[in-house]
């Protein structure tokens, strides 16, 4: 929508309300920012225990390497990989076409859609019992799941009063069509923890939310409404 028409359709309430400065980040802008962050820093979305977990991405720098899961009798532990696609955020109200039950996009919340690819290095211990194959064989097994989540935003302050960052917390996710329900619940909890941790690495400075306009100290927010993340403050 052209700027003039958009401005003309604004309701009679001011943008700044009772504060001096307003910064509203539309969901398309938020997704552009997330895309920029995760494109520049892909290691925030790609985790693996070793280079035996194949890409893409091919570059080792695009991965965060962590220890394998130690387990008695498994030499070197269980190799694993977790990869998320860049999440797509939708600020309240819902404009994503609906959420799978039981998720409900409450006031002040956002929903997100992403995929998670789980990789397991599936191995055998046959090297111990098969002299003809002394090396333990491992094969990466992958499962890619689409998931939907809901979450909320926070403000984290540091330094000068009113200065800080906006963070995103994932409250719940839903993966459909996994049976039995207990497995679905288990996976959802595991993936929610991982996704929350991954998205938690994104910290958007207040000035990024305003595209650098009007240096301000945050007084109110972040608030999520009308498809925007809104910050309110006073001029520094």
């Amino acid at each position: 929508m052209p700027c003039e028409r958009y401005l003309a359709t604004l309701v009679m309430m001011s943008l700044t309300e009772t504060e001096e400065v307003h910064a509203g980040l539309n969901e398309s802008g938020a997704n552009d920012l997330l895309t920029a962050v995760f494109t520049a820093r892909p290691r925030l979305l790609n985790y693996r225990s070793s280079p035996l977990i194949p890409g893409p991405p091919a570059s080792p720098a695009a991965w965060t390497t962590m220890p394998a899961i130690a387990f008695p009798g498994v030499p070197g532990g269980v190799g694993w990989g977790v990869q998320f696609s860049i999440p797509i955020i939708d600020f309240h109200p819902d404009s994503s076409g609906g959420l799978p039950p039981p998720l409900v996009l409450g006031v002040g919340r956002f929903s997100l859609r992403t995929t998670v690819t789980l990789t397991l290095l599936c191995g055998t211990r046959r090297g111990e019992h098969d002299p003809d194959n002394p090396q333990a064989a491992v094969m990466p097994l992958r499962a890619k799941l689409e998931l939907v989540g809901i979450g909320h935003t926070n403000a984290v302050y540091f330094g000068t009063p009113g200065q800080g960052e906006v963070t995103f917390d994932v409250d719940a996710i839903e993966i459909v069509d996994i049976k039995p329900d207990e497995l679905e619940t288990l996976l959802e909890c595991l993936i929610r923890m991982l996704l929350d941790a991954a998205l938690g690495t994104v910290r958007l400075p207040f000035q990024a939310v305003s595209a650098g306009a009007f240096a301000f100290a945050l007084v109110r927010g972040p608030e999520v409404e009308n498809d925007q993340l809104k910050l309110y403050g006073n001029v520094l």
Binding site: M1, C3, E4, Y6, L7, L10, V11, M12, M13, S14, L15, T16, E19, E20, V21, H22, A23, G24, L25, N26, S28, G29, D32, L33, T35, A36, V37, T39, A40, R41, R43, A61, R203, L204, P205, A208, V209, S210, A211, G212, A213, F214, F216, D227, Q228, N234, V235
Partner: protein
């Protein structure tokens, strides 16, 4: 809907303008111009401060009582003979007994050309309308408040003060000149009368007006490649490209300066 809507109300706009005035710093210029019948070379500097913002939809930011502090220094030269007639002391001869005729030499006074320096500092307040102007030049987005029209500067009191300053400066310069004593007051009066308030205004106006007519306060300045997050090894900096910016004054239950920003990752 734009990616970012940033708005500031009139109270915030006041602070914004003060910051922009401070960021503008000291403007300076030099040149030469007419000072009454004389030609003066001048240098001038000006700073801006204060003023209260009134946001008027759709496109006006009225700044009332903006204060321009300025310093004007100028020098002008003139031939003193042009206002005080040259004169000669005639030869005087006397007959001295036993010596004969003795004569004094004829002495002519040719008044020199003098240079008078004057410096004056003061301030003037004005009210003017500004329009937001968005530019992308050299990879930098700017939103400037650009003055619309030429406000009237009330320079009369300053001109009167400068006339006094010219008289004082002229007296200092003329005092050491031989034989000037009896006509010093006449010379000073002649100089200030020749220039007059109109002459000072004729110089002062063209010096100070350009500072105001070209006035623009920058209220937004960001590189087109806008850094969201700085580099933090091993991670690179995160940037987005600011693709479009518009600015307007929007009136609802209060008046606000609104910037709309679009960007791409």
């Amino acid at each position: 809907m734009p990616d970012v809507i940033a708005a500031i109300d009139e109270g915030g706009a006041n602070d914004l303008v003060q910051d922009a005035e401070a960021a503008l710093g000291t403007l300076s210029d030099s040149g030469s111009g007419s000072l009454g019948p004389f030609t003066a070379s001048w240098s001038a500097s000006a700073t801006f401060s204060g003023g209260s913002a009134d946001l008027i939809a759709p496109n006006t930011i009225r700044l009332a009582d903006v204060r321009m502090d300025y310093t004007v220094s100028f020098t002008f030269s003139f031939d003193l003979s042009s206002i005080i007639p040259d004169f000669c002391l005639p030869q005087v001869c006397v007959n001295v007994p036993f010596i004969g005729r003795v004569c004094t030499p004829r002495i002519c006074i040719d008044w020199p050309t003098v240079t008078i320096p004057v410096s004056h500092s003061s301030f003037v307040k004005f009210t003017a309308d500004f329009n937001p102007s968005v530019t992308l030049v050299g990879g930098v987005w700017k939103v400037d408040l650009v003055i619309a029209g030429v406000p009237s500067l009330q320079l009369g009191p300053a001109a009167a003060a400068i006339i006094v300053a010219i008289g004082a400066a002229a007296a200092l310069v003329l005092l050491p000149i031989p034989f000037i004593g009896p006509v010093l007051a006449i010379a000073v009066a002649a100089i200030t009368a020749a220039i007059g308030v109109a002459g000072v205004l004729g110089l002062l106006g063209p010096i100070l007006s350009p500072f105001v007519t070209g006035l623009r306060f920058t209220v937004y300045e960001q590189p087109q490649v806008f850094e969201i997050l700085p580099a933090a090894p091993p991670d690179a900096a995160v940037n987005v490209t600011l693709t479009a910016i518009t600015a307007a004054v929007v009136s609802t239950d209060e008046d606000e300066l609104v910037l709309n920003v679009d960007f791409s990752p």
